[in-house]
């Protein structure tokens, strides 16, 4: 009887949490009329902003992966002084208020900042530019990639890397043929998480670049200028596109043959 009551309480509490997540989304979908939605789909400004959001977030994730993945390997495999501090620094953007993160990035990429000056010398302004947006997105989302890839590398038995070394492989060959393929699933999860997080970023991006408008900024702008009714169809469209891309990326990452690491091998 007691067990039964406990199960019911668990079920009700779990349902309430799920309802809390699903109800606002369902309400938004239900309250969006098909005519408004079709008009929004055809709206060039909305199309451009969603496209911009997708490609800039993907580019930021792709470019930063080249440095973030080796850093993740270092964190998983090497012990060095102040490693804990380095780990803390990596997690910092996650806990910062995103507008504060935007201010920090803006200071870095403005004409007075180091990166801004360098870019200026090359004739490029990072403010109100997709490159600046990419930097703001990467700043708040790169910890997701680093942490997931680090966990992936840590789960690869170190002895497999040692075995490869004793078989004559160079350190770089060991990385590309053993560590990277075996940590691939976690790296892809981190990649998707970084991409998704970057795509949904508003606070940091709006400070760095109001224009060109990424989808979250466009939704905010429609809401503040025209109200809920006008912001809703754009939100629905963005959610659908984001979900479709998210599912597609997950499918691509899962399609890679599942690699079975024997529990013995991790001993």
């Amino acid at each position: 009887m007691k067990n039964n009551l406990f199960s019911w309480i668990l079920l009700i509490l779990s349902s309430l949490v799920l309802l809390f997540i699903l109800a606002p989304l369902a309400g938004m979908f239900i309250n969006t009329g098909s005519t408004e939605f079709i008009e929004t789909v055809k709206d060039k400004e909305v199309q451009e902003s969603i496209w911009l959001t997708l490609w800039v977030s993907f580019a930021a994730t792709f470019i930063f992966a080249f440095a973030a993945i080796p850093l993740a390997w270092l964190l998983a495999r090497k012990n060095f002084p102040l490693k804990g501090v380095v780990q803390g620094i990596i997690d910092l953007p996650v806990v910062l208020p995103h507008t504060a993160a935007g201010i920090a990035v803006l200071g870095f990429i403005s004409r007075d900042g180091f990166l801004g000056k360098t870019a200026d010398a090359l004739g490029l302004s990072l403010i109100n530019n997709p490159a600046g947006i990419a930097l703001a997105m990467a700043f708040v989302s790169v910890p997701f990639l680093i942490n997931s890839a680090r966990d992936g590398f840590a789960s690869v038995p170190e002895r497999l890397e040692k075995a490869a070394l004793t078989l004559g492989a160079s350190r770089s060959r060991v990385f590309f043929t053993i560590s990277l393929p075996l940590a691939w699933r976690s790296i892809m999860t981190g990649f998707v998480m970084m991409f998704a997080r970057g795509m949904s970023e508003f606070g940091a991006v709006v400070i760095v670049a109001y224009h060109p408008m990424i989808a979250p900024v466009l939704i905010y702008e429609r809401f503040s200028s025209f109200g809920l009714k006008y912001a809703r169809p754009a939100s629905v469209l963005f959610i659908i596109v984001a979900l479709a891309v998210f599912i597609l990326l997950r499918l691509i990452s899962l399609k890679k043959k599942e690699i079975y690491i024997s529990p013995d091998a991790e001993a």
Partner: protein, 352 residues
């Protein structure tokens, strides 16, 4: 072939210290020790996976102490094999050949030859997660041997294999050694060591405490630790007394042993192999060197038959074949006689 000169390596709270070894070409050397004794760390030092804090490693008259792993011509087979799960058996075996940038045709040929030698040709296209322990061990050996190492290091190669497959792998290892390959084999199992080694080194707490041919190590263990490894369970703390031309050992529990040899210290530890002890229901002749009457305290099955625990002032463990056990009709609490020659009692010099 391999010479270790005073190797020292600190690993956290544990340290390998003062290890010196010389292993001639073609020898089968077994490093015997419990887990945590430093045997795997020593293999990793020889392979080059870690660098000693002090000391030198020489292979084929070349100082390789600081040489890259890839240039040592040493093959290491890990416990649990460390087979790459993202590759087929072929991919695993071909891995070291790809590292050497051999031509595809040569790689195919070498992989096929070694797979045939290791009897795993039928597995080449398979992924490795559903292979048996014996098959995985053969793949790991093939992958290491295809690189033609001068020295093969084996870390507990039989520990994760079913008993039925062990003999098979042992035969393979003996054959490789007969063909001239120098092998260093690490294990915790003294029976494995006895069955394969030309020479044994017993390692304990990062030191090699005894070295020599297996029969010598196990018939004359230098201390209690090695004696325990040899399966000896009869240990007696004794005081030595001269009695005319003979020596006697007085056990703390009462019995006095007549022993052979001379110049013993005042106190020491003596061992007695259980198969050197004879049991009888009737009183033995007075001519026996050592004879004691005792009570059977416990009877339990053992690897060789039955183990009988006898209290004769000290506890004696005696191993009996089942037929002898049955013919003597031994029961718990029954009275029984034990005898053993004085030559069977061995003093452990290092355990006083």
């Amino acid at each position: 072939m391999l010479r270790l000169k005073n190797i020292n390596k600190r690993l956290g709270n544990f340290a390998i210290s003062g290890i010196s070894l010389e292993i001639p070409e073609g020898e089968y050397y077994v490093l015997l020790g419990r887990s945590g004794s430093g045997k795997t760390q020593l293999l990793e030092l020889i392979a080059g996976l870690s660098i000693p804090d002090a000391g030198e490693i020489w292979i084929n008259n070349q100082d390789v102490t600081r040489k890259k792993i890839q240039n040592r011509q040493v093959g290491l087979v890990f416990q649990d094999y460390a087979i790459f799960p993202n590759m087929t058996v072929f991919g695993n075996i071909a891995y070291p050949l790809h590292s050497r940038k051999l031509k595809r045709h040569d790689i195919d040929l070498k992989v096929k030859n070694i797979a045939e030698e290791m009897n795993i040709s039928n597995l080449l296209d398979r992924f490795t997660h559903n292979l048996s322990g014996g098959e995985l061990q053969r793949v790991a050996l093939a992958r290491t041997l295809v690189n033609s190492p001068k020295l093969l290091l084996l870390d507990e190669p039989l520990a994760s294999i079913d008993a039925s497959l062990r003999d098979d792998i042992k035969r393979t290892l003996r054959r490789l050694n007969r063909n001239g390959l120098t092998i260093i084999h690490v294990t915790h199992d003294y029976r494995e060591a006895v069955s394969l080694a030309a020479r044994i080194g017993v390692i304990h707490n990062g030191h090699i405490i005894q070295e020599g041919p297996p029969n010598e190590v196990f018939s004359k263990p230098v201390n209690k630790f090695v004696a325990r490894y040899a399966g000896i369970r009869n240990f007696f703390r004794v005081r030595f007394r001269r009695d005319g031309d003979c020596w006697k050992a007085l056990c703390e529990g009462g019995p006095v042993f007549r022993i052979s040899g001379n110049n013993f210290p005042e106190k020491g530890l003596m061992i007695l192999k259980s198969d050197d002890i004879k049991i009888s229901n009737n009183e033995p002749s007075a001519g026996s060197d050592n004879r004691f009457n005792g009570v059977v305290r416990e009877i339990s099955p053992s690897e060789n038959g039955m183990e009988v625990t006898i209290d004769a002032g000290e506890i004696f463990y005696v191993d009996l074949p089942v037929c002898d056990f049955k013919s003597l009709q031994i029961r718990e609490s029954s009275n029984i006689w034990i005898t053993f020659p004085k030559e069977a009692v061995i003093a452990l010099p290092g355990s006083g």
